[in-house]
């Protein structure tokens, strides 16, 4: 697809989105097409039913959390800019843009980690509590393991990560426990044009 700016005029705020997220025009166009496809009743936003209609997503154990990550608190519809902003987290980190400082870019490792953190932290209090982690483990592994096993696993994870012993993992502790993992490698998607 060409990077013709004129083709993007029907997409509202296309240029700001491109600046903000680092997607190219072709990417934005493709994402917009996908957005239109998913938005079955053409209301200009995606709702839960639209997400549930994706067959592969339904089988994902943590689909509710992923869907929840798109929805800003208080709203029940995902508009296109929010859609693109969330997806921007998954760009590979070695992008050439360096206009803004790397902390603000959506695809910096810290932002990616924040995304994952928010997935765990459903009540948005800035900390992962034991119940929250146990819930995630149960969602992912319910079929395979017993609850007691998962309890033990969760306890051990907390022992490892919870450095100040307050029974909750803050974002910094979370970040520290994953410092040896190559986040950008794991949390990146090659976006097709």
């Amino acid at each position: 697809m060409g990077s013709n700016k004129s083709t993007l005029q029907h997409i509202p705020n296309a240029e700001e989105l491109m600046e903000e997220t680092g997607f190219s025009a072709a990417h934005i166009q493709r994402l917009y097409d996908r957005f239109q496809l998913l938005d079955r009743d053409q209301m200009g936003g995606l709702r839960n039913e639209d997400f549930e209609a994706i067959p592969e997503l339904v089988t994902n154990p943590i689909k509710d959390r992923i869907i929840g990550a798109f929805l800003s608190p208080g709203k029940d519809m995902v508009d296109f800019p929010s859609f693109v902003r969330v997806l921007a987290h998954f760009q590979p980190t070695n992008s050439k843009r360096s206009k803004t400082s790397s902390q603000e870019q959506y695809n910096s490792p810290t932002r990616k980690l924040q995304f994952v953190f928010q997935l765990y932290d459903q009540d948005r209090d800035g900390k992962i509590s034991k119940t929250e982690m146990l819930q995630v483990l149960q969602e992912m592994l319910r079929m395979e393991e017993t609850d007691e096993q998962l309890q033990s696993v969760m306890e051990k994870a907390f022992q490892e990560a919870d450095l100040d012993q307050d029974d909750a993992i803050s974002f910094d502790e979370f970040k520290k426990s994953l410092e040896k993992l190559d986040i950008s490698e794991k949390m990146s998607i090659g976006f097709l044009c």
Partner: protein, 773 residues
């Protein structure tokens, strides 16, 4: 340092003796059979004729020979053993002086030693054993190496990068062969170089031989460098999978070399042949792998022969592929990959270890011998040296590889999640070493090619150049260019959990974007695997998620570590010191403590450790096995420290202040606290006998571990780290020898209350524990 010198001297004298022996016995030397007979004893010289016959000739007595020698009978195995020994001594010798191996890869050193030995043999006019004849090489020496590569291949990164790997292997080899062949042909046209009689087909044939990157040589070099996973897996995979291409190209060009003209039909047939070769190899491999996995399902009653199946089936895969002239390397690799996953779950822990060790040993021997003989044969073959041709070969090999990597990477980078940077590309290009496969192939060139000797010399030159120059220089270059290195740190539970979460997230997002993702195939395969394959091929097909396996393994380690640190019962000070010393000595081989106690406990623990399958580290060191030995080492070290302390002084005051604050009881449920656990332990100390104390410690450890492994049994919620009551009443003896197989332990889970029992005030255990019976 003095000790090192002595060892070096002893090593050297051993070498010299061996060398002399070899020279005397190696090759085609005349073997003198000396028949036992009276001539030995009486020493009659045949040249002295008796001038007159004696009137009464003495009857020749046939005395029984006291000492005879019959060399020809044992010649072949004897020489083989000596060669292997010599090469292995060389290998030991290098590691005595550690600094050498940092800068010079082992392959270089082995070739050098081979050169020396070859020089000696040449000067004594001996011929080397015909080891690098193509049959011996391809049928006996190559399979173990390839099996090793396939068995220890890191599957996860491989399958994530399979497209890239195949792209480089197939297209890269083609590119290189054609490019080098064409350029050499162009060079041949120049009269001044005197190689005009080599036609295009022969050039292409030669090019196809030398364009293949050899995995053995390249990975030898990568060992200490630990480049990042992506480069590693691409080089690794490329080296292995370009075999299919090499085979096809070689056959095609050698067939074509006899025909004066090439038709388009031949090209088409070549492509078809490539498909047959590669897909056939994969198919055979998978077939044999599945049959092997199925066989091991039934071997639980004959554990000793379990390792045999792995080797026999993979070798069969190799041979059958050779039979049909399809890619045997692909066949054996696929067989190993398929087989490993299922076999390792079916066989016992011991067999698993045996298999891994034997694979490594065979591969090590093969590789050592190959490089060694490369050196030897270099000296002893006839060479034809042509400066122009050889130099241009080197040049073109280098140029075309670099160009190839550049162009191919540009094409494939958009499809990769993590594109290769220029530094990565340089690393890839520079690590294209050629090795013994190339050498063996060139020996199989038919004699109809009139410039065969030139080709042999040229390929030897290339191998030497790449192995020595590139091999030695790659390490400083990698460090200088700061190519991304891997960080194979220990995985902890958090990383495992969050990795899994991230995989789900990414998979979900990809579904959202409507993109085909490789997680899609991974998921599909996992479902197929769980539903069908595991049921058929595994004896015990319950799945255990990797998170929980890792958790169990870490718990086991921390359980053992917990007992290692001073706890106030047994002597604190020597334990601490000895523990630190032992940790420093981690690389030295461990001593054995063969008492019945230790062995029994070892058995029990090993059988319990059966349930944990070491998650294969994504990046396995070539010369070492995946490190499961740490837990066992800690166990044995613990016993050694116990024994030492018991001998030294039996009764000490409990040094309660030595209990470290950071001690964590992972199974300590909320509600119980650390202090009560320690209080109970301290209280029980004074009443114990010495030997019983020793047993108690280990029973404590057992029970803890049993508690780890059988959680939820009995559904007790009062599970806490309370020690057992002292077992004064028990007669000292080895711990009862439970032999839990997998099924048994599962069955007993429901029946048996788990390891930790709460103590009631009388100090008697409330419920019965089978360990105490």
């Amino acid at each position: 340092m003095g000790r090192l010198c002595i060892l070096g001297v002893r090593g050297r004298t051993a070498w010299c003796t061996l060398l002399l022996l070899l020279c005397c016995s190696g090759g085609d030397c005349e073997s003198e059979t000396r028949t036992p007979g009276p001539t030995d004893i009486q020493g009659v010289k045949p040249f002295h004729n008796e001038p007159q016959p004696q009137p009464f000739p003495e009857e020749e007595k046939a005395n029984m020979p006291v000492f005879t020698m019959d060399y020809s009978r044992i010649q072949v195995p004897f020489e083989f053993t000596l060669w292997v020994l010599l090469a292995s001594f060389a290998k030991i010798g290098f590691h005595i002086y550690h600094k050498i191996t940092i800068w010079i890869p082992e392959s270089c050193l082995l070739i050098c030693i081979g050169l020396i030995v070859g020089g000696i043999m040449h000067s004594v006019k001996e011929k080397p054993p015909a080891v690098l004849s193509s049959d011996v090489f391809f049928l006996y020496m190559l399979p173990p190496i390839v099996l090793d590569s396939g068995y220890f291949m890191p599957t996860r990164p491989f399958f994530e990068n399979v497209g890239t790997v195949l792209w480089y292997a197939v297209v890269g080899s083609l590119w290189n062969s054609v490019g080098i062949g064409m350029s050499l042909f162009a060079i041949c046209q120049i009269e001044a170089f005197g190689v005009q009689d080599i036609n295009l087909q022969e050039n292409l044939l030669f090019a196809s031989i030398i364009s293949a990157v050899d995995p053995v040589a390249a990975l030898c070099v990568f060992e200490d460098i630990s480049v990042n996973e992506q480069i590693y897996i691409v080089i690794f995979g490329e080296g292995l999978f370009n075999d299919a291409v090499t085979v096809v190209l070689y056959n095609m060009f050698s067939y074509v070399a006899d025909i004066p003209a090439v038709e388009s039909v031949d090209v088409f047939l070549g492509v078809a042949r490539f498909c047959v070769v590669s897909l056939g190899g994969l198919l055979f491999g998978v077939l044999f792998g599945i049959v092997a996995a199925f066989t091991t399902r039934f071997t639980h009653n004959s554990r000793q022969i379990e390792p045999l199946f792995v080797f026999m089936y993979s070798y069969l895969a190799y041979l059958v592929a050779e039979l049909f002239a399809i890619s045997s390397v692909l066949s054996i690799i696929t067989c190993a990959i398929t087989m490993k996953y299922y076999v390792e779950e079916n066989v016992s822990q011991r067999s698993c270890t045996t298999i891994r060790h034997v694979v490594k040993v065979l591969a090590s021997i093969s590789e050592t011998l190959i490089f060694f003989f490369l050196g030897v044969v270099t000296i002893t073959t006839e060479h034809e040296w042509n400066w122009a041709y050889i130099l241009f070969t080197l040049l073109f090999a280098f140029i075309w590889r670099g160009l190839g990597i550049l162009v191919l990477t540009q094409i494939i980078n958009p499809f990769r999640t993590i594109p290769f940077s220029f530094k990565d590309q340089f690393g890839l290009a520079y690590s294209g070493l050629r090795g013994a496969v190339c050498f063996a192939l060139v020996f199989t060139l038919p004699d109809t090619i009139n410039r065969r000797k030139l080709f042999v010399t040229a390929s030897i030159a290339i191998i030497f150049f790449t192995v020595f120059i590139q091999g030695i220089s790659i390490r400083p270059i990698v460090e200088y260019m700061n190519i991304r290195r891997s960080n194979n740190e220990k995985y902890n539970i958090n990383m495992e959990i969050h990795s899994r979460t991230m995989e789900h997230i990414v998979s979900g997002i990809e579904d959202l974007c409507g993109q085909w993702s490789h997680y899609y195939w991974k998921d599909k395969f996992k479902k197929f695997n769980d539903r069908i394959l595991r049921r058929i091929l595994l004896r015990d097909s319950r799945a255990e998620s990797s998170i929980v396996s890792l958790y169990k393994k870490l718990e086991l380690q921390s359980a053992i570590e917990m007992l290692d640190t001073p706890m106030g019962d047994l002597s604190a000070a020597p334990s601490v010191v000895s523990l630190h010393d032992e940790m420093k000595e981690a690389s030295r081989p461990k001593k054995k403590f063969p008492t019945a106690d230790v062995r029994n406990m070892h058995n029990i623990l090993a059988k319990n450790m059966y349930k944990i399958r070491q998650k294969t580290l994504a990046y396995t060191n070539k010369y070492k096995l995946p490190d499961e030995s740490r837990t066992r080492e800690i166990l044995i070290r613990r016993h050694s420290s116990i024994r030492r302390s018991l001998r030294a002084s039996s009764f000490r005051d409990p040094l309660s202040e030595n209990i470290p604050k950071s001690q964590r009881y992972y199974s300590l449920q909320p509600g119980s606290d650390l202090e009560s656990a320690f209080a109970l332990r301290r209280r029980s100390h004074g009443r114990s006998l010495m030997k019983v104390e020793f047993l108690k410690q280990d029973i404590v450890m057992f029970s803890y571990i049993m508690g780890v492994f059988c959680p939820g049994a009995g559904g007790s919620s009062t599970r806490s780290a309370i020690p057992l009551s002292p077992i004064k009443e028990r007669s000292p003896g080895p711990a009862p020898h439970r032999t839990p197989t997998v099924q048994q332990s599962e069955d007993e889970e429901g029946a048996m209350p788990h390891g930790w029992q709460p103590e009631d005030p009388q100090g008697n255990t409330v419920s019965r524990n089978p360990l105490l019976r």
